[in-house]
Symmetry: C2
């Protein structure tokens, strides 16, 4: 084991999940086993955005119970951001940001950096890793995977995904019972929109609610399968004729045969230049009401699906913690420039371990649902997908409750004294 | 005790809730204590809609465990409907329906009828009660209260409401953690739309998530308080200046100062002639983005908020069961033409009992939030509301799980043999 003495920094980036704090807990708790080389355990507030502002907190000042409580607290307890260091688009600003970042690292003797995030965040970690080498600042950087979207490559799945689909599948089950219990002469339709920009993993995951042939969801529309309006209308009619109601789940990034997103508002872009999506369910509702004349209601879970810790998967939480622990163990072994992966070693019984993959291979590669995991007609994921997804939703957390609502933890956030001139 | 020997019929009506089946379980289990007068315990499928079709099932054929399991199974296990017997609008059809209904009652010797539902359903029960007297068919009819909307008068609250606000408040808590953890230069806004046509009880209930001054929700828009766009925009700006993010909860039936509903699609009406509402959150999002330039996301829980048994309130389930039991006990004591009420006898500690109120007093009277339960500026419910609502969300169900998802029961629905000519 190569000994590098200094301070450790952990931060979070991108859209939060129900279990991204569990990964931070894993980092902090594992770091406690390496205090022979780790002087201080710092948290960076709001990821790179806050680190550039030298917004660091001292995590050893937190109560042990608060760190343990992170395992059932959703969202990003350290704060998060969508800040991109983009050399291609704005090399001057990117260089300035990197200069500042290493000023902060050096001022606070940061030798270990763990960044929990999705695709864009792993890309950021990779760039920082390359810069550290270029600048000759000895440090170890490990990316911790996170995203409800499950679109990171090389890892069997991502922490956050299991909880998102456990919650979404439960919602589909409950809403379907509701819709199916209402007598109607013409039948009724309900469209549930879930997240997923390019990959339909969350939408697909709701198939776990379908335990009998007639159970909902009846149709799952995936961004991976081009939307054909006429075929969709025919399929809804078919479902209605069979059981009087139809529950459709749609991934927000559903595209037509020209690759245009349904319900995308093309005039708006997020910080990474992606179109802001909002209206897939409403667009489908209009189609069903106009073409079939069916009463149609919509559900749009939005942020609820990525923050529903009250119904998190225990398996997911355990894996999120393990990813944080693995990141620290790997860094202590001298590794840098890797992302932690979850490696499935057996399907039945489900067994897994953690591994590493070079960040260079990961950044900005998208992981879509394999075509042969979807039925030939494209309306539902098949047995291969179900075998894959089922283990990820197993087990329930023991959620501490207070006056009828979940008791989430809030960190005390003891600030680390700033040493640099503030950026303007 | 007056002895009336015959068969018992229980049915459900209107929009389901997470606990309307618990009331049916209460009816069935209490009926088991009166088998000296009750010959058969029947369920009417899809309320009046199915009873007119003679769609009855034999509930004594169900497994005892299935009846117990109704206490954690959402939606209407017997099926429900929005069928109105409307003498004012269509006297001919209403008379025909009543004739048929009593044909069914007489053919199956129905002497006890329990109808679980909201405002419109209590009205139906009342009409049937009057008809029974007019026609000289001795039977006892008791309405069982149900609605997440909490808009029935004379009962302290309605079964279904506590679970709806426990789930909605939890969602607000989780979504707010998510929104607040994202660093933004300009701040961000999230608008959560909940149900509530005329009364803002559900929206108001999410105030229980606000345990500290700065906690979400920051603004709750109630149909009881006319929406003033300029004041709303100013208030959102104020919240953003204080804590960088703003979580708004809106009841779908929000109205402007002219009484026009925000985001109502006036071209569509439901079976009771009410306008179909869909777009309050989207309308507010447009306002916030246009007037303040804040990135705004929406969450529309839709049917999820009335069917989320996985996060039901134990208090609510207990009360729903008790309402079913009370209905049967009252009928056995000779009462007819009443609705069961929940009567609060003490606030701290919370104590309650069940009572009765004549159906004649209840039908189509709406119960709104008292103005003095809302802050003077109209942006939030006040301490009086919180004292009222807090006890209703206490306690959690032990939800049986199967492969990571709730295990809901499905009734076997053994059909009762039909004796009449089918209606066309």
């Amino acid at each position: 084991m190569s000994e590098l003495v200094g301070n450790l920094l952990v931060a979070q980036s991108g859209g939060p999940t129900a279990v991204i704090n569990a990964s931070v807990a894993g980092v902090i708790q594992e770091a406690g086993n390496h205090m022979n080389v780790v002087d201080e355990i710092y948290g960076g507030l709001n990821g790179i955005y806050g680190i550039l502002r030298e917004d660091l907190i001292d995590l050893q000042e937190e109560q042990t119970s608060a760190i343990e409580g992170l395992k059932h607290t959703p969202a990003a307890a350290l704060g998060t951001c969508r800040y991109k260091i983009d050399f291609a688009k704005n090399p001057e600003k990117a260089t300035k940001d990197m200069d500042r970042l290493f000023e902060v690292f050096q001022a606070h003797n940061i030798r270990y950096f763990f960044y929990a995030g999705g695709n864009d965040s792993q890309d950021t970690s990779h760039k920082i890793h390359l810069e550290a080498e270029k600048r000759g600042w000895e440090m170890r950087i490990i990316g911790v995977p996170k995203t409800i979207d499950n679109d990171l490559p090389f890892t069997d799945h991502t922490p956050g995904y299991g909880s998102a689909i456990k919650y979404s599948a439960t919602t589909v089950m409950e809403v379907a019972l509701d819709v199916s219990s209402m007598a109607t002469d013409a039948g009724s339709c309900c469209i549930i929109e879930v997240m997923g920009r390019s990959a339909g993993w969350i939408a697909a995951g709701t198939v776990l609610a379908k335990r009998e042939q007639l159970d909902a969801p009846h149709i799952i529309l995936l961004p991976e399968v081009p939307f054909r309006k006429d075929a969709f209308v025919a399929q809804v009619k078919q479902e209605i004729s069979e059981h009087q109601f139809c529950v459709v789940v749609v991934g927000e990034g559903l595209k037509d045969e020209n690759g245009d997103e349904l319900g995308a508002d093309k005039t708006k872009k997020d910080a990474f230049g992606h179109a802001v999506l909002s209206g897939a369910a409403e667009t489908l509702k209009e189609i069903v009401e106009k073409e079939i004349g069916l009463k149609t209601r919509t559900v749009k879970l939005g942020y609820a699906q990525r923050s529903a810790a009250h119904h998190a998967s225990e398996q997911d939480v355990d894996e999120a913690v393990a990813c944080g622990q693995m990141a620290v163990r790997s860094a202590m072994e001298g590794k840098s420039g890797y992302m932690v992966t979850i490696d499935r070693t057996s399907n039945a019984p489900y067994e897994w371990t953690t591994g590493l993959k070079p960040l260079a291979d990961i950044a900005n590669v998208e992981h879509l649902i394999p075509r042969d995991w979807i039925t030939e007609d494209g309306w539902l994921p098949n047995e291969k997908f179900i075998e894959y997804a089922q283990p990820l939703i197993e087990g329930e957390l023991h959620m501490p409750m207070e006056r009828g609502l979940p008791k989430f933890v809030h960190l005390a956030k003891e600030k680390v004294e700033k040493k640099l001139t503030p950026i303007v």
